[in-house]
Amino acid sequence: MKPARRYEIFSLLLAGILAATAGCGSSSRSSSTSSGGGSTAVNNVQTITVNTGPTAGPPINSPAINEPFTSVTVCAPGSTSNCQTISGILVDTGSSGLRILSSVLTISLPQQTGSGGNAVVECLPFVHGFTWGPVQAADLTIAGEEAKNLPIQVVGSVAFPTIPTSCSGQGAEEDDLKSLGANGVLGVGIFAQDCGDGCTITGSNNPGLYYSCSSSGCQVTTESLANQVANPVIFFATDNNGVIIDLPAVTGAEASITGSLIFGIGTQSNNALGSQTIYTLDPSTGNIATRFNNVTYPNAAFLDTGSNAIYFLDTATTGFSTCTDLTFWYCPTSTQTPSATNQGANGASGTFTFTVGNADTLTANGTVGVANGLAGPNSGMFDWGLPFFYGRKVYTAIENQNTPGGLGPYWAY
Protein backbone atom coordinates (compact mmCIF):
# COMPACT_ATOMS: atom_id res chain seq x y z
CA MET A 1 0.00 0.00 0.00
CA LYS A 2 2.51 2.60 0.97
CA PRO A 3 6.21 2.92 0.42
CA ALA A 4 6.70 4.32 3.88
CA ARG A 5 6.79 1.27 6.09
CA ARG A 6 10.39 2.01 6.87
CA TYR A 7 9.29 5.43 8.10
CA GLU A 8 6.93 3.75 10.51
CA ILE A 9 9.77 1.74 11.96
CA PHE A 10 11.91 4.85 12.01
CA SER A 11 9.19 6.84 13.72
CA LEU A 12 8.68 4.18 16.32
CA LEU A 13 12.39 4.34 17.09
CA LEU A 14 12.22 8.11 17.10
CA ALA A 15 9.20 8.05 19.37
CA GLY A 16 11.10 5.87 21.78
CA ILE A 17 14.08 8.18 21.75
CA LEU A 18 11.91 11.24 22.20
CA ALA A 19 9.98 9.60 25.01
CA ALA A 20 13.23 8.68 26.70
CA THR A 21 14.85 12.08 26.28
CA ALA A 22 12.00 14.56 26.41
CA GLY A 23 10.37 12.75 29.24
CA CYS A 24 7.09 14.51 29.58
CA GLY A 25 3.97 14.99 27.57
CA SER A 26 4.40 12.12 25.18
CA SER A 27 1.24 10.17 24.84
CA SER A 28 1.25 6.52 24.02
CA ARG A 29 -1.36 4.37 22.45
CA SER A 30 -3.29 2.19 24.86
CA SER A 31 -3.77 -0.62 22.42
CA SER A 32 -4.85 -3.82 24.05
CA THR A 33 -4.54 -3.47 27.77
CA SER A 34 -7.93 -4.87 28.62
CA SER A 35 -8.43 -4.29 32.30
CA GLY A 36 -11.78 -5.93 32.69
CA GLY A 37 -11.41 -8.71 30.21
CA GLY A 38 -14.97 -9.68 31.01
CA SER A 39 -17.55 -10.92 28.60
CA THR A 40 -19.89 -7.92 28.92
CA ALA A 41 -19.61 -5.84 25.81
CA VAL A 42 -19.31 -2.10 26.34
CA ASN A 43 -22.02 0.24 25.10
CA ASN A 44 -20.84 1.10 21.61
CA VAL A 45 -23.79 3.25 20.50
CA GLN A 46 -23.54 7.03 20.67
CA THR A 47 -26.57 9.14 19.78
CA ILE A 48 -26.04 11.73 17.09
CA THR A 49 -28.42 14.55 16.24
CA VAL A 50 -28.74 16.40 12.98
CA ASN A 51 -30.15 19.83 13.79
CA THR A 52 -29.46 23.54 13.53
CA GLY A 53 -26.55 23.09 15.92
CA PRO A 54 -24.63 25.35 18.29
CA THR A 55 -24.53 28.30 15.87
CA ALA A 56 -28.33 28.59 15.58
CA GLY A 57 -28.83 30.99 18.47
CA PRO A 58 -27.36 34.37 19.37
CA PRO A 59 -24.89 35.82 18.83
CA ILE A 60 -24.16 33.92 15.61
CA ASN A 61 -27.75 33.23 14.51
CA SER A 62 -26.61 30.95 11.71
CA PRO A 63 -28.52 27.65 11.84
CA ALA A 64 -26.70 24.62 10.45
CA ILE A 65 -28.17 22.23 7.89
CA ASN A 66 -27.25 18.57 7.55
CA GLU A 67 -24.55 18.66 10.18
CA PRO A 68 -24.47 15.72 12.63
CA PHE A 69 -23.63 16.63 16.22
CA THR A 70 -22.88 14.68 19.36
CA SER A 71 -21.42 15.10 22.84
CA VAL A 72 -18.09 13.95 24.19
CA THR A 73 -16.74 13.78 27.72
CA VAL A 74 -13.09 14.67 28.19
CA CYS A 75 -11.09 14.40 31.39
CA ALA A 76 -7.55 15.29 32.30
CA PRO A 77 -5.67 12.00 31.85
CA GLY A 78 -6.16 9.75 34.85
CA SER A 79 -8.72 12.02 36.50
CA THR A 80 -12.35 11.18 37.18
CA SER A 81 -13.23 14.61 38.53
CA ASN A 82 -11.46 17.06 36.26
CA CYS A 83 -13.89 16.35 33.43
CA GLN A 84 -16.21 18.15 31.06
CA THR A 85 -19.01 17.05 28.74
CA ILE A 86 -19.16 19.13 25.57
CA SER A 87 -22.08 19.11 23.14
CA GLY A 88 -22.25 20.47 19.62
CA ILE A 89 -19.33 18.35 18.40
CA LEU A 90 -19.45 17.68 14.64
CA VAL A 91 -19.24 13.98 13.72
CA ASP A 92 -16.90 13.90 10.72
CA THR A 93 -16.01 10.80 8.74
CA GLY A 94 -13.99 13.05 6.42
CA SER A 95 -11.23 13.70 8.96
CA SER A 96 -9.50 11.96 11.84
CA GLY A 97 -8.89 13.25 15.35
CA LEU A 98 -10.74 15.06 18.11
CA ARG A 99 -10.56 18.86 18.02
CA ILE A 100 -12.21 21.06 20.63
CA LEU A 101 -12.54 24.82 20.61
CA SER A 102 -10.43 26.37 23.34
CA SER A 103 -13.29 28.79 23.96
CA VAL A 104 -15.61 26.02 25.20
CA LEU A 105 -13.00 24.02 27.12
CA THR A 106 -13.22 24.80 30.84
CA ILE A 107 -10.81 22.14 32.14
CA SER A 108 -7.06 22.26 31.85
CA LEU A 109 -5.36 19.50 29.85
CA PRO A 110 -1.65 18.66 29.79
CA GLN A 111 0.29 20.14 26.88
CA GLN A 112 2.24 17.76 24.65
CA THR A 113 5.88 18.74 24.46
CA GLY A 114 8.52 17.80 21.93
CA SER A 115 12.25 18.17 21.76
CA GLY A 116 13.64 20.77 24.13
CA GLY A 117 10.42 20.74 26.11
CA ASN A 118 8.72 23.01 23.59
CA ALA A 119 4.97 22.89 23.12
CA VAL A 120 3.66 20.97 20.10
CA VAL A 121 1.06 23.00 18.17
CA GLU A 122 -0.77 21.86 15.07
CA CYS A 123 -1.99 23.44 11.84
CA LEU A 124 -4.52 21.06 10.32
CA PRO A 125 -5.69 21.74 6.76
CA PHE A 126 -9.38 21.50 5.90
CA VAL A 127 -11.05 22.40 2.62
CA HIS A 128 -12.00 25.86 3.90
CA GLY A 129 -8.65 26.52 5.53
CA PHE A 130 -7.12 25.35 8.76
CA THR A 131 -7.43 24.90 12.50
CA TRP A 132 -4.52 26.11 14.65
CA GLY A 133 -3.91 25.11 18.23
CA PRO A 134 -1.89 23.07 20.72
CA VAL A 135 -1.82 19.29 20.98
CA GLN A 136 -2.95 18.23 24.43
CA ALA A 137 -3.80 14.90 26.06
CA ALA A 138 -7.24 13.86 27.30
CA ASP A 139 -9.14 10.80 28.42
CA LEU A 140 -12.14 10.67 26.11
CA THR A 141 -15.36 8.87 27.01
CA ILE A 142 -18.02 8.42 24.35
CA ALA A 143 -20.89 5.96 24.81
CA GLY A 144 -19.17 3.23 26.85
CA GLU A 145 -15.89 3.57 24.99
CA GLU A 146 -12.75 5.11 26.43
CA ALA A 147 -9.70 6.55 24.70
CA LYS A 148 -7.05 7.09 27.34
CA ASN A 149 -4.34 9.70 26.99
CA LEU A 150 -5.58 10.63 23.52
CA PRO A 151 -3.71 13.44 21.71
CA ILE A 152 -6.29 16.03 20.69
CA GLN A 153 -6.09 19.49 19.17
CA VAL A 154 -7.30 22.42 21.27
CA VAL A 155 -8.34 24.88 18.60
CA GLY A 156 -7.82 28.62 18.88
CA SER A 157 -5.96 28.60 22.19
CA VAL A 158 -5.06 32.06 23.48
CA ALA A 159 -1.74 30.61 24.61
CA PHE A 160 -0.58 30.41 20.97
CA PRO A 161 -2.01 33.51 19.31
CA THR A 162 0.59 33.90 16.58
CA ILE A 163 -0.14 31.72 13.59
CA PRO A 164 2.94 31.00 11.45
CA THR A 165 2.58 32.40 7.93
CA SER A 166 3.08 28.89 6.51
CA CYS A 167 -0.13 27.94 8.33
CA SER A 168 -2.16 31.09 7.76
CA GLY A 169 -1.51 30.69 4.03
CA GLN A 170 -3.78 27.64 3.91
CA GLY A 171 -7.04 29.60 3.63
CA ALA A 172 -9.56 30.74 6.21
CA GLU A 173 -8.87 30.32 9.92
CA GLU A 174 -11.51 28.08 11.55
CA ASP A 175 -10.67 28.62 15.18
CA ASP A 176 -13.93 29.88 16.67
CA LEU A 177 -17.56 28.80 16.79
CA LYS A 178 -18.63 30.95 13.87
CA SER A 179 -15.92 29.80 11.48
CA LEU A 180 -15.81 26.15 12.59
CA GLY A 181 -19.60 25.87 12.94
CA ALA A 182 -19.26 23.52 15.90
CA ASN A 183 -17.77 23.34 19.41
CA GLY A 184 -15.41 20.75 18.09
CA VAL A 185 -14.89 18.05 15.49
CA LEU A 186 -14.90 14.31 16.18
CA GLY A 187 -12.92 12.94 13.25
CA VAL A 188 -13.71 9.24 12.92
CA GLY A 189 -12.63 8.77 9.30
CA ILE A 190 -10.51 6.30 7.40
CA PHE A 191 -7.12 7.44 8.71
CA ALA A 192 -5.62 6.34 12.02
CA GLN A 193 -3.85 9.68 12.51
CA ASP A 194 -4.53 13.07 10.98
CA CYS A 195 -1.17 13.43 9.23
CA GLY A 196 0.41 9.99 9.05
CA ASP A 197 3.88 9.10 7.87
CA GLY A 198 4.58 12.47 6.20
CA CYS A 199 4.82 14.29 9.52
CA THR A 200 7.28 11.79 10.99
CA ILE A 201 10.09 12.64 8.57
CA THR A 202 12.52 15.53 8.53
CA GLY A 203 13.32 18.02 5.81
CA SER A 204 11.35 19.25 2.83
CA ASN A 205 9.29 16.05 2.63
CA ASN A 206 7.58 16.99 5.88
CA PRO A 207 4.30 18.79 5.07
CA GLY A 208 4.60 21.00 8.14
CA LEU A 209 1.42 20.26 10.08
CA TYR A 210 3.12 20.08 13.47
CA TYR A 211 5.08 22.91 15.02
CA SER A 212 7.39 23.20 17.98
CA CYS A 213 6.61 26.49 19.70
CA SER A 214 8.68 28.45 22.20
CA SER A 215 8.66 32.06 23.28
CA SER A 216 10.72 32.91 20.21
CA GLY A 217 8.21 31.45 17.75
CA CYS A 218 7.13 28.25 16.07
CA GLN A 219 9.13 25.93 13.81
CA VAL A 220 7.92 22.92 11.84
CA THR A 221 8.75 19.76 13.75
CA THR A 222 8.50 16.03 13.22
CA GLU A 223 5.72 14.22 15.05
CA SER A 224 5.66 10.47 15.62
CA LEU A 225 2.52 8.54 14.74
CA ALA A 226 1.99 7.80 18.42
CA ASN A 227 2.02 11.51 19.27
CA GLN A 228 -0.12 12.72 16.36
CA VAL A 229 -3.73 13.75 16.86
CA ALA A 230 -5.40 10.40 16.28
CA ASN A 231 -8.71 8.92 15.33
CA PRO A 232 -10.08 8.24 18.85
CA VAL A 233 -11.52 4.90 17.73
CA ILE A 234 -8.07 3.28 17.42
CA PHE A 235 -7.51 4.07 21.10
CA PHE A 236 -10.53 2.06 22.26
CA ALA A 237 -9.79 -1.28 23.95
CA THR A 238 -12.29 -2.98 21.66
CA ASP A 239 -14.58 -1.79 18.86
CA ASN A 240 -11.49 -0.05 17.48
CA ASN A 241 -11.53 -0.89 13.77
CA GLY A 242 -14.14 1.54 12.46
CA VAL A 243 -17.54 3.14 12.87
CA ILE A 244 -21.05 2.90 11.50
CA ILE A 245 -23.26 5.92 10.86
CA ASP A 246 -26.91 4.91 11.11
CA LEU A 247 -29.41 7.65 10.21
CA PRO A 248 -33.10 7.41 9.32
CA ALA A 249 -34.46 8.11 5.88
CA VAL A 250 -35.51 11.72 5.29
CA THR A 251 -38.00 13.16 2.84
CA GLY A 252 -37.61 16.85 2.18
CA ALA A 253 -36.86 19.14 5.12
CA GLU A 254 -37.17 18.55 8.85
CA ALA A 255 -36.20 20.33 12.04
CA SER A 256 -34.02 17.52 13.35
CA ILE A 257 -33.41 13.78 13.34
CA THR A 258 -31.50 11.45 15.63
CA GLY A 259 -29.42 8.43 14.73
CA SER A 260 -26.46 6.44 15.93
CA LEU A 261 -22.71 6.44 15.75
CA ILE A 262 -21.83 2.79 16.37
CA PHE A 263 -18.26 1.86 17.22
CA GLY A 264 -16.57 -1.23 15.81
CA ILE A 265 -17.19 -3.41 12.78
CA GLY A 266 -18.05 -7.04 13.45
CA THR A 267 -17.07 -6.77 17.10
CA GLN A 268 -20.56 -6.93 18.61
CA SER A 269 -23.99 -8.13 17.58
CA ASN A 270 -25.06 -4.60 16.58
CA ASN A 271 -22.21 -3.86 14.18
CA ALA A 272 -21.88 -7.01 12.08
CA LEU A 273 -21.22 -6.81 8.38
CA GLY A 274 -24.20 -8.29 6.59
CA SER A 275 -25.25 -7.83 3.02
CA GLN A 276 -23.34 -4.56 2.68
CA THR A 277 -21.05 -4.04 -0.30
CA ILE A 278 -17.46 -3.23 0.62
CA TYR A 279 -15.80 -0.45 -1.38
CA THR A 280 -12.05 -0.32 -0.88
CA LEU A 281 -10.27 2.96 -1.47
CA ASP A 282 -7.39 4.30 -3.48
CA PRO A 283 -4.71 4.13 -0.77
CA SER A 284 -3.09 7.43 -1.70
CA THR A 285 -6.24 9.57 -1.74
CA GLY A 286 -8.88 7.68 0.20
CA ASN A 287 -11.24 8.06 -2.73
CA ILE A 288 -13.41 5.75 -4.82
CA ALA A 289 -14.81 6.18 -8.33
CA THR A 290 -18.30 7.28 -9.30
CA ARG A 291 -19.98 6.66 -12.65
CA PHE A 292 -22.60 9.23 -13.69
CA ASN A 293 -24.35 9.62 -17.05
CA ASN A 294 -22.13 6.93 -18.57
CA VAL A 295 -18.93 8.70 -17.57
CA THR A 296 -16.62 7.23 -14.92
CA TYR A 297 -14.78 9.66 -12.67
CA PRO A 298 -11.88 7.65 -11.21
CA ASN A 299 -10.48 8.49 -7.80
CA ALA A 300 -12.87 11.41 -7.46
CA ALA A 301 -15.49 10.40 -4.88
CA PHE A 302 -15.72 10.15 -1.11
CA LEU A 303 -18.29 9.67 1.65
CA ASP A 304 -18.24 12.44 4.25
CA THR A 305 -20.65 13.15 7.11
CA GLY A 306 -18.89 16.49 7.53
CA SER A 307 -20.20 17.78 4.19
CA ASN A 308 -23.76 19.07 4.38
CA ALA A 309 -24.95 18.24 0.87
CA ILE A 310 -24.22 15.99 -2.07
CA TYR A 311 -21.69 18.05 -3.98
CA PHE A 312 -21.05 16.75 -7.48
CA LEU A 313 -19.95 17.83 -10.95
CA ASP A 314 -21.30 21.07 -12.35
CA THR A 315 -24.22 22.59 -14.23
CA ALA A 316 -22.66 21.85 -17.62
CA THR A 317 -22.46 18.10 -16.94
CA THR A 318 -25.56 17.61 -14.77
CA GLY A 319 -27.96 20.07 -16.39
CA PHE A 320 -28.98 21.28 -12.93
CA SER A 321 -28.84 25.04 -12.63
CA THR A 322 -27.39 26.58 -9.50
CA CYS A 323 -29.37 28.86 -7.20
CA THR A 324 -29.34 32.55 -8.02
CA ASP A 325 -27.77 33.79 -4.79
CA LEU A 326 -26.45 30.62 -3.20
CA THR A 327 -24.49 29.47 -6.23
CA PHE A 328 -22.83 26.64 -4.29
CA TRP A 329 -26.18 24.75 -4.35
CA TYR A 330 -28.37 23.42 -7.14
CA CYS A 331 -31.86 24.80 -7.66
CA PRO A 332 -33.71 22.66 -10.20
CA THR A 333 -37.31 23.82 -10.69
CA SER A 334 -38.58 20.38 -9.68
CA THR A 335 -37.02 17.67 -7.52
CA GLN A 336 -34.79 15.32 -9.51
CA THR A 337 -33.69 11.74 -8.75
CA PRO A 338 -30.59 10.99 -10.80
CA SER A 339 -28.73 7.72 -10.44
CA ALA A 340 -25.03 7.06 -9.94
CA THR A 341 -22.77 4.06 -9.50
CA ASN A 342 -20.03 3.96 -6.89
CA GLN A 343 -17.03 1.75 -7.66
CA GLY A 344 -14.43 0.60 -5.15
CA ALA A 345 -10.77 -0.03 -5.89
CA ASN A 346 -11.67 -3.72 -5.37
CA GLY A 347 -14.01 -3.60 -8.35
CA ALA A 348 -17.17 -3.66 -6.24
CA SER A 349 -19.91 -1.45 -7.56
CA GLY A 350 -23.44 -0.44 -6.71
CA THR A 351 -25.98 1.76 -8.42
CA PHE A 352 -28.36 3.98 -6.47
CA THR A 353 -30.56 7.01 -6.90
CA PHE A 354 -30.29 10.20 -4.92
CA THR A 355 -32.31 13.38 -4.64
CA VAL A 356 -31.48 16.81 -6.00
CA GLY A 357 -34.03 19.31 -4.73
CA ASN A 358 -34.37 23.05 -4.95
CA ALA A 359 -32.01 24.39 -2.28
CA ASP A 360 -33.80 27.75 -2.05
CA THR A 361 -37.01 25.93 -1.17
CA LEU A 362 -35.34 23.41 1.14
CA THR A 363 -33.52 26.05 3.16
CA ALA A 364 -36.14 28.81 3.15
CA ASN A 365 -37.18 28.10 6.75
CA GLY A 366 -34.47 28.87 9.31
CA THR A 367 -35.72 26.17 11.70
CA VAL A 368 -34.79 23.44 9.22
CA GLY A 369 -31.76 21.43 10.31
CA VAL A 370 -32.20 18.48 7.97
CA ALA A 371 -32.74 18.60 4.21
CA ASN A 372 -32.60 15.60 1.95
CA GLY A 373 -32.12 16.82 -1.61
CA LEU A 374 -29.58 19.47 -0.75
CA ALA A 375 -26.96 19.26 -3.48
CA GLY A 376 -24.48 21.50 -5.22
CA PRO A 377 -21.66 21.70 -7.72
CA ASN A 378 -18.18 20.24 -7.19
CA SER A 379 -16.27 20.27 -10.45
CA GLY A 380 -15.17 16.78 -11.51
CA MET A 381 -15.77 15.37 -8.04
CA PHE A 382 -18.42 13.63 -5.93
CA ASP A 383 -18.60 14.58 -2.26
CA TRP A 384 -21.26 12.23 -0.92
CA GLY A 385 -22.18 14.32 2.08
CA LEU A 386 -24.68 13.73 4.85
CA PRO A 387 -27.82 13.36 2.66
CA PHE A 388 -26.19 10.22 1.21
CA PHE A 389 -26.22 8.73 4.73
CA TYR A 390 -29.97 9.26 5.23
CA GLY A 391 -31.72 5.87 5.26
CA ARG A 392 -28.39 3.99 5.04
CA LYS A 393 -26.08 2.24 7.46
CA VAL A 394 -22.65 3.31 6.30
CA TYR A 395 -19.52 1.55 7.59
CA THR A 396 -16.16 3.34 7.68
CA ALA A 397 -13.21 0.99 8.28
CA ILE A 398 -9.94 2.53 9.49
CA GLU A 399 -6.66 2.00 7.65
CA ASN A 400 -4.61 -1.04 8.68
CA GLN A 401 -7.31 -2.25 11.09
CA ASN A 402 -8.64 -5.79 10.77
CA THR A 403 -12.34 -6.33 10.24
CA PRO A 404 -14.44 -9.31 9.17
CA GLY A 405 -14.60 -7.59 5.77
CA GLY A 406 -10.83 -7.40 5.44
CA LEU A 407 -8.24 -4.79 6.25
CA GLY A 408 -9.30 -1.12 6.27
CA PRO A 409 -9.62 1.38 4.83
CA TYR A 410 -12.96 0.87 3.15
CA TRP A 411 -16.53 2.01 3.11
CA ALA A 412 -19.44 -0.42 3.16
CA TYR A 413 -23.17 0.12 2.87
Binding site: V127, H128, T285, S379, G380
Partner: protein, 151 residues
Protein backbone atom coordinates in the same frame (compact mmCIF):
# COMPACT_ATOMS: atom_id res chain seq x y z
CA UNK B 1 -3.54 18.16 -26.25
CA UNK B 2 -0.55 19.11 -28.31
CA UNK B 3 1.82 19.90 -25.53
CA UNK B 4 5.51 19.88 -26.23
CA UNK B 5 7.98 19.53 -23.44
CA UNK B 6 10.52 22.22 -24.01
CA UNK B 7 12.70 21.94 -20.99
CA UNK B 8 12.88 20.57 -17.49
CA UNK B 9 14.49 22.32 -14.59
CA UNK B 10 15.23 21.15 -11.11
CA UNK B 11 15.60 23.95 -8.61
CA UNK B 12 16.51 23.39 -5.01
CA UNK B 13 17.83 26.88 -4.31
CA UNK B 14 16.17 29.14 -1.84
CA UNK B 15 15.39 32.58 -3.23
CA UNK B 16 14.64 35.54 -0.98
CA UNK B 17 11.27 34.94 0.63
CA UNK B 18 10.14 38.51 0.07
CA UNK B 19 9.45 37.71 -3.57
CA UNK B 20 5.92 36.62 -4.19
CA UNK B 21 3.79 35.16 -6.90
CA UNK B 22 1.62 34.17 -8.68
CA UNK B 23 -1.94 34.31 -10.03
CA UNK B 24 -2.23 37.51 -12.03
CA UNK B 25 1.49 38.13 -12.01
CA UNK B 26 4.32 37.54 -14.45
CA UNK B 27 5.25 34.00 -15.34
CA UNK B 28 8.75 34.80 -14.11
CA UNK B 29 7.27 34.44 -10.62
CA UNK B 30 6.90 30.71 -11.26
CA UNK B 31 10.58 30.31 -10.44
CA UNK B 32 9.97 31.86 -7.06
CA UNK B 33 7.15 29.39 -6.42
CA UNK B 34 9.40 26.50 -7.35
CA UNK B 35 12.04 27.70 -4.92
CA UNK B 36 9.57 28.31 -2.11
CA UNK B 37 7.92 24.95 -2.57
CA UNK B 38 11.34 23.29 -2.99
CA UNK B 39 9.81 21.55 -5.96
CA UNK B 40 10.75 20.39 -9.40
CA UNK B 41 9.50 22.20 -12.50
CA UNK B 42 8.39 20.92 -15.87
CA UNK B 43 7.39 23.43 -18.50
CA UNK B 44 5.46 22.77 -21.68
CA UNK B 45 3.59 24.95 -24.09
CA UNK B 46 0.68 24.88 -26.48
CA UNK B 47 -0.61 27.48 -28.90
CA UNK B 48 -2.55 29.41 -26.31
CA UNK B 49 -0.63 29.02 -23.06
CA UNK B 50 2.49 27.83 -21.27
CA UNK B 51 2.03 25.27 -18.54
CA UNK B 52 4.39 25.20 -15.57
CA UNK B 53 4.00 22.03 -13.49
CA UNK B 54 5.58 22.01 -10.06
CA UNK B 55 5.90 18.79 -8.08
CA UNK B 56 6.56 19.40 -4.38
CA UNK B 57 8.46 16.97 -2.15
CA UNK B 58 5.30 16.52 -0.05
CA UNK B 59 3.39 15.11 -3.02
CA UNK B 60 1.43 18.16 -4.12
CA UNK B 61 1.17 18.80 -7.88
CA UNK B 62 0.82 22.50 -8.71
CA UNK B 63 0.10 23.80 -12.21
CA UNK B 64 0.44 27.40 -13.30
CA UNK B 65 -0.94 28.49 -16.65
CA UNK B 66 0.66 31.51 -18.28
CA UNK B 67 -0.67 33.43 -21.26
CA UNK B 68 1.44 34.21 -24.34
CA UNK B 69 1.82 37.67 -22.84
CA UNK B 70 3.53 36.05 -19.85
CA UNK B 71 0.83 36.46 -17.22
CA UNK B 72 -0.27 33.63 -14.91
CA UNK B 73 -4.04 33.44 -15.43
CA UNK B 74 -4.80 30.11 -13.72
CA UNK B 75 -3.39 27.78 -11.08
CA UNK B 76 -4.41 24.31 -9.90
CA UNK B 77 -3.25 22.03 -7.14
CA UNK B 78 -3.79 18.42 -6.18
CA UNK B 79 -2.34 16.38 -3.35
CA UNK B 80 -2.49 15.43 0.31
CA UNK B 81 -2.10 19.04 1.48
CA UNK B 82 -2.74 22.56 0.24
CA UNK B 83 0.24 24.41 -1.18
CA UNK B 84 0.91 27.85 0.31
CA UNK B 85 -2.15 29.56 -1.12
CA UNK B 86 -0.96 33.00 -0.08
CA UNK B 87 1.99 32.39 -2.36
CA UNK B 88 0.01 30.75 -5.14
CA UNK B 89 -2.96 33.14 -5.26
CA UNK B 90 -0.74 36.15 -4.67
CA UNK B 91 -2.72 39.39 -4.90
CA UNK B 92 -6.00 37.42 -4.87
CA UNK B 93 -5.37 35.62 -1.58
CA UNK B 94 -7.09 38.11 0.73
CA UNK B 95 -10.11 38.29 -1.55
CA UNK B 96 -10.25 34.49 -1.51
CA UNK B 97 -10.09 34.14 2.28
CA UNK B 98 -12.75 36.82 2.76
CA UNK B 99 -15.04 35.05 0.28
CA UNK B 100 -14.53 31.69 2.04
CA UNK B 101 -15.61 33.27 5.33
CA UNK B 102 -18.79 34.64 3.77
CA UNK B 103 -19.58 31.36 2.03
CA UNK B 104 -19.03 29.41 5.25
CA UNK B 105 -21.86 31.32 6.92
CA UNK B 106 -24.17 31.21 3.88
CA UNK B 107 -23.71 27.48 3.40
CA UNK B 108 -24.85 26.59 6.94
CA UNK B 109 -22.29 23.81 6.99
CA UNK B 110 -19.20 22.47 5.31
CA UNK B 111 -18.63 21.69 1.65
CA UNK B 112 -16.38 22.41 -1.29
CA UNK B 113 -15.47 26.05 -1.89
CA UNK B 114 -16.92 27.70 -4.96
CA UNK B 115 -16.07 31.37 -5.32
CA UNK B 116 -17.38 33.00 -8.48
CA UNK B 117 -16.49 36.66 -8.47
CA UNK B 118 -16.42 38.70 -11.65
CA UNK B 119 -12.63 38.81 -11.56
CA UNK B 120 -11.79 35.60 -9.70
CA UNK B 121 -13.03 32.01 -9.66
CA UNK B 122 -11.76 29.58 -7.01
CA UNK B 123 -12.84 25.99 -6.42
CA UNK B 124 -11.45 23.85 -3.59
CA UNK B 125 -12.62 20.35 -2.74
CA UNK B 126 -11.54 17.13 -1.04
CA UNK B 127 -10.96 15.91 2.48
CA UNK B 128 -8.15 15.23 4.93
CA UNK B 129 -5.03 14.12 3.00
CA UNK B 130 -6.65 14.64 -0.41
CA UNK B 131 -7.29 18.14 -1.71
CA UNK B 132 -7.85 19.62 -5.15
CA UNK B 133 -8.10 23.27 -6.09
CA UNK B 134 -8.42 25.50 -9.12
CA UNK B 135 -8.26 29.28 -9.39
CA UNK B 136 -8.38 31.53 -12.43
CA UNK B 137 -9.01 35.05 -13.58
CA UNK B 138 -11.76 34.71 -16.22
CA UNK B 139 -10.85 37.88 -18.11
CA UNK B 140 -7.25 36.75 -18.55
CA UNK B 141 -7.95 33.40 -20.22
CA UNK B 142 -6.28 33.47 -23.65
CA UNK B 143 -8.57 33.48 -26.68
CA UNK B 144 -9.61 29.97 -27.60
CA UNK B 145 -8.95 28.52 -24.19
CA UNK B 146 -11.81 27.00 -22.21
CA UNK B 147 -12.23 26.71 -18.47
CA UNK B 148 -12.42 22.92 -18.86
CA UNK B 149 -8.83 22.99 -20.14
CA UNK B 150 -7.66 24.12 -16.69
CA UNK B 151 -7.23 20.82 -14.87
Amino acid sequence: MNLKITHAIVLMLALPSSLSASLGRDATSVQEDVAKMQGTLRTSSSNSYTLHEIQTPTGVAVKEYASPAGKVFAVTWKGPYHPDLRQLLGPYYDEYVQAVRIQRTQRAGHGPILIQHAGLVVEVSGHLRSFVGRAYVPQQLPAGMHVEDIR
